[in-house]
Structures are given as C-alpha cells and as structure tokens.
C-alpha cells in the first residue's frame, strides 16, 4: 500500500506556542532555584509554624561511623538517599546538601541568589500565565479545545481512551484534530489547578501578602502547610512533564515539536486511511 498522504492542520495558536516555551524556561528555572531555596531549611511541616523536632519531611545528612549518609525522612519512614538527597557530589568532595548541585540554580547553595532567580522567573511565569488565560478564555481556546464535552465524559469513551492510551495507540485521521479526554483532563489540571496552586501557595509564604490577604493562607491551613503544598505540587508538575514528554515521543516527536513551533500538525485524513477500526 502506498504511504498515505499527510495533511498539515493548524493545531496551536501563536499565543499557545509562545506561552508554552516561556513556561518551559520559567518552570525549569523556578524548579531549580526552588530546590536551592529548599536547601536553606530542608524540612517541611503542616500548620502555621515549624515543629523543629518533628518535621513531616526532612532531607539531611547523618554520620554513621566513619561514613556520612544522605537520609530522607517522610513521617516515620527513613530512607538512605546518599548520592542524590542529603549528601551528594563528586567522589571525594561530597557535601551535605538537600538536592545535588546539578539540580539547583545556582549550583552552589546560595539562598540570596536563588531567591533572585526564583522571584524574577515567578514574575515572568505569572505574567505569561495571565496572557495565556486572558487570550485562552477570551478567544475560546480553553472552553472550545480543553473543556471536555458530554461525549468525552461518557464512561464508555473514558474506558476506551484509557485502554488505547495504555496500548500507546493514538487517534488518527479526524480524531487527531482534537484533544482526547485524557489530554483535556491533564492540560486542564495543569492550567487551572497545578500552576495556579503554585502561585497561590508561593504567595502564602510572603508575610506581606499574608497581612493583606489573611484568608488565602487560612485556605491552605497556614504558612508551613502552604510551603509543603508548594513543594508537593512542584513535584506533581515534574511528574506531569515526564508523562508529557513520554507521550510526545510515543506519539511522534518531530510532529509534536513542529506543531508547538510552527503550529502545524500532520495528520492522515480518514479517506486515505483504508479500513481503520
């Protein structure tokens, strides 16, 4: 059979593409500077205040005989994380740092400079997000392309999508023109929940904002709770990015990357597909 003819469809509006790549930059630097900031007090608590003797999560170094171990503690569980968390570095020059130098900006632990990076890219991230939201809501992108339809949410369709995704079979033809329900859920979850949650919990760590909007920090159960949720949500976003990148590769690396640069996405129209299920 001859190779089916492909057509390029216009998939991503310019504002989606530009804000996407600004987010790639901003989120990368926010994560890496955030990990450096975390190193200044690598412990997390719930509520308004710290209970130094009993953190919920802590990352530290412990001496065991002649050896130093990196130890990560979650509630009552302890893990040896030497080399990655708590104690890491090149052989012979290991250091007691929460996250390894290769994961942080600046690479050396430096709270003052890490904060400069964090707040600069926090502003870029917030302004970028506002542009996306305003254009996305005003131009209909969020409602038209991301909001699930009644048909999307039918149990039979949900099950079908889960099964085909698990088999890494992706929609072809006309179906590939639109997002499927799992994509919609993932993107909406990130755009409407996870990313705004990062901004709000981040603002809760500001004593100035807390004085002006005490309801906000109360909503998250206190400044230390907000810091903990900030940390957990950051890793949830990292997990999303890993799945996202995996799906990009699994469903056609170059086609996906091109569509996020030029906006054009190649699909094979139904009439040239022959008998597909």
């Amino acid at each position: 059979m001859a190779k089916p003819a492909k057509v390029l469809v216009y998939r991503h509006a310019a504002v989606t593409r530009v804000t996407h790549w600004i987010n790639v930059l901003a989120l990368t630097l926010l994560l890496m500077s955030g990990l450096n900031i975390f190193g200044a007090h690598p412990a997390l608590y719930w509520g308004q205040k710290a209970v130094f003797a009993h953190p919920w999560i802590s990352i530290g170094a412990e001496q065991q005989g002649a050896r130093t171990l990196g130890v990560t503690q979650i509630d009552s569980l302890k893990f040896n994380t030497t080399g990655v968390l708590g104690y890491s570095g090149k052989a012979g020059s290991e250091e007691a740092v929460a996250f390894p130098h290769w994961a942080t900006v600046p690479s050396e632990r430096d709270l003052a400079d890490a904060r400069h990076w964090h707040f600069f890219f926090a502003w870029l991230f917030v302004l970028n997000g506002l542009v996306y939201w305003l254009v996305g809501l005003g131009g209909g992108h969020i409602l038209k392309d991301l909001a699930p339809t009644r048909r999307d949410l039918a149990p039979r369709n949900l099950w079908h999508e889960i099964v085909t995704h698990a088999k890494l079979k992706f929609p072809k033809g006309e179906e590939a023109r639109r997002y499927n329900v799992l994509q919609k859920g993932a993107y909406l979850g990130v755009v409407l929940v996870a990313l705004p949650l990062m901004v709000l919990t981040g603002l809760c760590m500001s004593p100035g904002v807390d004085a002006g909007a005490p309801w906000l920090v109360a909503l998250f159960g206190g400044r230390q709770s907000a810091r903990t949720i900030h940390f957990i949500t950051a890793w949830a976003i990292v997990a999303f990015i890993f799945v996202h990148l995996f799906m990009v590769v699994a469903s056609g690396t170059w086609n996906n990357i091109r569509s996020m640069i030029t906006g054009r996405y190649a699909i094979v129209p139904d009439e040239t597909l022959g008998d597909v299920p």
């Binding site: 003052a112 100035g208 004085a211 400044r223």
Partner: protein, 258 residues
C-alpha cells in the same frame, strides 16, 4: 542492539553536557553583576505590587496564647561577644540607653524604664524566616510611631536605621556589625514595636536582649536584635556597604515582604 546502546550512550552524554552548559551559564549570570541586577529587578516589582495591593495599615495575623511555639528558633547572632555588649549584659542592662538621633528635632537617650513607659503594644505573631521556617511568639514593646513623634522627625527623614550591638561577621572595616533599616510606612505601622518582652518575660539574649525590632510584615532578618540606636536618615548608601542592612549588603532583598 549495540547500535541502540551506543545511541543511548550518546544521548545521555548529550543531555548531560547540555545540562552542564545550562548550569554553567546560570552560574555565570549569577556571578555577573549586570545580569544579576536584571534578576534583582524583580524586587522593585514585588515591593511596588505589595505596596499597591496591600493596605498600608493591614495588620499581620495575631494568634492565641496556645499557638505560641515552645521551640522558637533564635537565628543569626545568639550570644554576642562584643565587649560593650558584654559589659551591659553583666549589669543586667541597667546602663542600657536607646539612642534616637539623626534627622530628628529632639535626640533621645532612653533607659529601659523610659522605654517601658512609652505607649506599648502586645501581639502574638508569626515570625517568618527567609530560610522557610516559622515560629510564633508573644511580643510586648514600645510602638515605634509615637517614639519617633516624640523625637520629631525632620521632613528630610525617609528611613529609620537600627544600629545593633552584635558583630555577625568579623571584618576589618567593621561592616560585619548588624544593622537594618525600614521606610516610614513600616516605621509607623501599628504593629511595629521595639520589643522588650517575649512570651511575658524579659527578652532573652538569644532573641536580642534587651530590645529588638518587630516589623511583622517582613521576613525575620529585618527584625533587628540587640538594638542600640535608631537613626533617622535620608539615604541608606552611606551606611555599611550601602544596601540598607547586614543581609542586604550580602545580596538579600531590602524589601523582605516576600
């Protein structure tokens, strides 16, 4: 198979060197004063946004006695060894005088008894360290606003500088002496006090005895401990290394509302 392994090896090496390149670039930007100044421009945006959006008189949340931290962590200097301070401490701060001078009409020199006779305020507030932790404590102290009115600020005064008794870093030029500064918005905020009591007892040495600043809507390093002298000034540049405080001189934000 070997081909695939080979490719994976190349891919890993490629990713690792790309990562190292990015990290190296970030470290170069951090070390470059001009590039770092661009990063630091966010501070001005943050300060203006907070001043614009947050009511200037908005109070930091106050807590109940049962919220008080049993393990309030002292940070920075916790037991100053400066000879003048040790001499004051040896006498239970009986000879302590808080000096108020600079751009004021009537310079003051107040004993602890004088300070305790000033209009006072008690508040149970959360102390937010720049490192990320928080502790809750109860503070009683003289309100800074009425004290400044008693001294009479001259029209040119724009900032209040807090000169402290402790040397936090040993330096040859004396720039390791702790100091801090706030603007008049925070100086006249109702919760801004010179605290002499903590949790219903005289302020202990690790927390800044005999007097420390509480400026509740900013991070912990703004709350100068071991305060000896208030100076009303027009410009922060002539002090220390010119950034308005010990930690500010070492790269931290002067506006520590976030």
């Amino acid at each position: 198979m070997t081909g695939a392994l080979h490719r994976r090896g190349w891919l890993q090496a490629g990713l690792a060197s790309a990562g190292a390149l990015v990290l190296g670039a970030c470290d170069k930007i951090t070390a470059n004063p001009k590039a770092n100044a661009v990063l630091q421009s966010a501070e001005g945006l943050t300060r203006r946004a907070q001043r614009l959006l947050v009511d200037r008189k908005a109070l930091a949340r106050e807590f109940t006695p049962k919220d008080i931290s049993p393990d309030f962590r002292p940070n920075g200097s916790i037991d100053p060894t400066d000879p003048d301070y040790l001499a004051l401490k040896a006498k239970g701060f009986a000879d302590y005088r808080l000096v108020v001078d600079g751009l004021v009409e009537r310079p003051l020199s107040l004993s602890l008894a004088d300070l305790r006779a000033q209009p006072a305020r008690t508040q149970i507030t959360r102390h937010d360290c720049v490192e990320g932790w928080s502790s809750i404590g109860k503070w009683t102290g003289a309100r800074l606003g009425p004290l400044l009115d008693r001294a009479g600020l001259k029209p040119a005064a724009r900032y209040i500088v807090f000169h402290c008794a402790d040397t936090l870093e040993q330096t040859l030029d004396g720039s390791g002496q702790y100091y801090e500064s706030i603007d008049l918005i925070d100086a006249y905020h109702p919760q801004t006090i010179l605290a002499y009591d903590m949790n219903d007892a005289p302020l202990p040495v690790p927390h800044g005895a005999p007097v420390r600043l509480r400026v509740e809507r900013q991070l912990g390093y703004k709350h100068a401990k071991y305060v000896m002298r208030l100076e009303a000034v027009n410009d922060l540049k002539p002090l220390g290394r010119g950034k308005g405080g010990f930690w500010e001189d070492r790269g931290y934000e002067w506006y520590a509302g976030i």
